[in-house]
Symmetry: C2
Subunit: 382 residues, 2 copies
């Protein structure tokens, strides 16, 4: 057994995945330290927070659907327990809502695609409802008159990721988990075993950090999102997403609404306080987090097509984040081939949805799902 | 003669007009105080800085054209002298540039309108050049291929209004002009004469301010832009303009470019450091300075039509300001009917262009132009 207070686990990365893991480990009594130069400021900060495995389903990604459904089932208890640990009134304080997602169609081609998707989902015994344009507008009166039909996934949910990471930081603080505000610039290796991390800047002051920014650990859990590739050869690439937050005095929508406009997918996520999140671009541009004229233009154009009334809303925030995409769109979770190194990265567009499930997989439960996410499917990780 | 240091003139409003007047008066040795809760943060902060009387000309506004041309002639010496007083290297430090404006047309109707405008301008002996689409693109290679013709106004200029107001504030500081950071909430009146202002908050600490926020003056110069109506019944209304700043590593354009897209006018103003200003909406919404989804959408849509390459640029700033519009679009400059009250407001879209000329008109030069701007043309000012 490690001495009390030793840095048994060091988690490289303080996004929603890294923080969730730290919280679960610390809760179970395991000493853990999180290292991140700016926790909760990357992809988690940009995320809209859709927990929508059903409406996100595509024909080719059955494993991702299975993961997503299992993850969604974990969310209610995760949110409730986190609220308790963070001293919040309840999951409502995280804006955790379960009112479903409405996927809408405009043209005849869109409608045909929606019909096919509905048939596919019914075959999978997913609870969906095919709606006419009129039924869609009855549910969501602000929808454009041009909407001709929709598919309601009543089980889909959403949450405010910024509130979740804020709650995780509070919970970690209450549990006494050290949060080192420095970047993990290198994994320390000793005879083929990962034995800790090197931090930048090297003179960072934090418990357990030795000269040169060295922080020893029995296990390093790499949860550095798109930055994981450089540290351990994980095949993740940055997929840029630009997102916009609009503000209105009262909510324009009662549930998440998504649709395909001009061939690009757009979604609108309503918050309880009247905020409306519009997302998101998907751009392969490397480590580029600039908010661009073209990105904003696409979001605004597509959001207007779905819900014309958005034009009156105030623009309160615009931000870009980098999702960690993998070759097969599945995350990379579990022990790597290298002793001392465990991975929890590659969550791509699903970091918020999959965070609770990721902690469970790491704790060794959910063996069958763990196999889907196993690092063993990739070479070159070390 | 007033005692040295007395607050002979109090200027209500520290936008580009109020600050320019203060600078000219202080330079001539006259004691002056400026009151503004947040100098240089209103319409001047949102302005793009086009000094483009020729390309802004319309058939019905000959007086405004005369004013604008006279104002443009004042700019080179104004910029040069301001640079000296602010300790800058020269007018270049204000991004004062004289490379002209290019007005472009897309469709056949646009081209016909451009031809008519060219004929009208030639009749006025304004120096303009009618260009083909090819000639436009030779001047500005980033222009959209759909541009079919243009009108070059080679004498038009532009400047960075934020640098100008910053230089004015520096110059005023060097001249020892007091800047009271409070709002003028009321004009003090004594037997039909304006004798000073009341400031809010009333406990503001500044030289010459007595109990209750009272600041006495021989003359109050009202330069409060859209807020002038409430103080003295000037018929100005707020005309909202949303504007966007884009950033690129190298300038996309060599001169100001404007055009009419989907019936709305858009212009692009390049700065020396690669910034590109895109403006501007014109909205009649009262005192509303929210940046809206619809406003940004229009700017982005129209800018893309003119110069498709803007989509790659970073969005560095988005802001809305309130222009002080008058019923005849001409400013209101000169002594009011009320002793002790002088007006310098109602500059609408021309505050930056007209600021130097405004100071000259107030000093009693340019009598003929002064008549165009006289407050006497409106009743109810007092």
């Amino acid at each position: 057994m490690p001495a009390k207070g030793a840095h048994v686990d060091v988690i490289a990365g303080g996004g929603i995945v890294g923080l969730s893991i730290a919280w679960r480990l610390a809760r179970s009594g395991r000493p853990v330290t999180v290292a991140d130069p700016a926790p909760a400021s990357g992809a988690s900060h940009a995320a809209a927070g859709m927990l929508a495995p059903v409406s996100e389903v595509t024909y080719t990604e059955a494993p991702l659907l299975r993961l997503g459904l299992a993850a969604l089932r974990r969310w209610p208890s995760f949110a409730a327990e986190l609220a308790v640990d963070a001293g919040l009134a309840g999951a409502d304080a995280l804006d955790f809502r379960t009112d479903g997602t409405l996927d809408v169609a405009f043209g005849a081609d869109d409608l045909a695609a929606l019909d096919e998707l509905a048939a596919f989902m019914e075959k999978l015994e997913l609870p969906v409802e095919r709606l006419t344009g009129r039924e869609c507008r009855r549910l969501e009166p602000m929808l454009a008159p041009a909407v001709r039909g929709g598919l309601l996934a009543p089980g889909d949910a959403w949450v405010d990721p910024r509130r979740v990471t804020a709650a995780l930081l509070t919970a970690l603080d209450r549990l006494g988990v050290p949060l080192v505000r420095a970047r993990v610039s290198e994994l320390l290796r000793d005879d083929g075993t990962v034995t800790g991390v090197r931090l930048t800047p090297p003179d960072v002051q934090a418990p357990g950090v030795a000269d040169g920014g060295v922080l020893r650990a029995e296990r390093v859990i790499l949860a550095a999102g798109a930055w994981s590739a450089a540290l351990a050869g994980v095949p993740v690439r940055p997929v840029k997403g630009q997102i916009m937050r609009l503000r209105s005095s009262q909510p324009l929508l009662g549930r998440c609404v998504r649709g395909t406009v001009h061939g690009s997918s757009v979604y609108l996520v309503p918050r309880g306080d009247g905020e409306l999140v519009v997302g998101a671009t998907q751009e392969e541009l490397g480590f580029d987090t600039r908010v661009t004229a073209g990105g904003l233009y696409e979001l605004l154009r597509d959001a207007r097509e779905l819900v014309p009334g958005v034009t009156e809303l105030e623009v309160s925030d615009v931000v870009a984040g980098l999702r960690p995409g993998t070759p097969d769109n599945l995350p990379v979770i579990g022990p790597s081939g290298t002793p001392g190194l465990t991975l929890a990265t590659g969550h791509h567009r699903g970091g918020v949805l999959l965070a609770p499930l990721t902690t469970v997989i790491l704790l060794g439960e959910e063996g069958e799902l763990a196999a889907l996410c196993s690092p063993e499917r990739f070479r070159d990780i070390s």
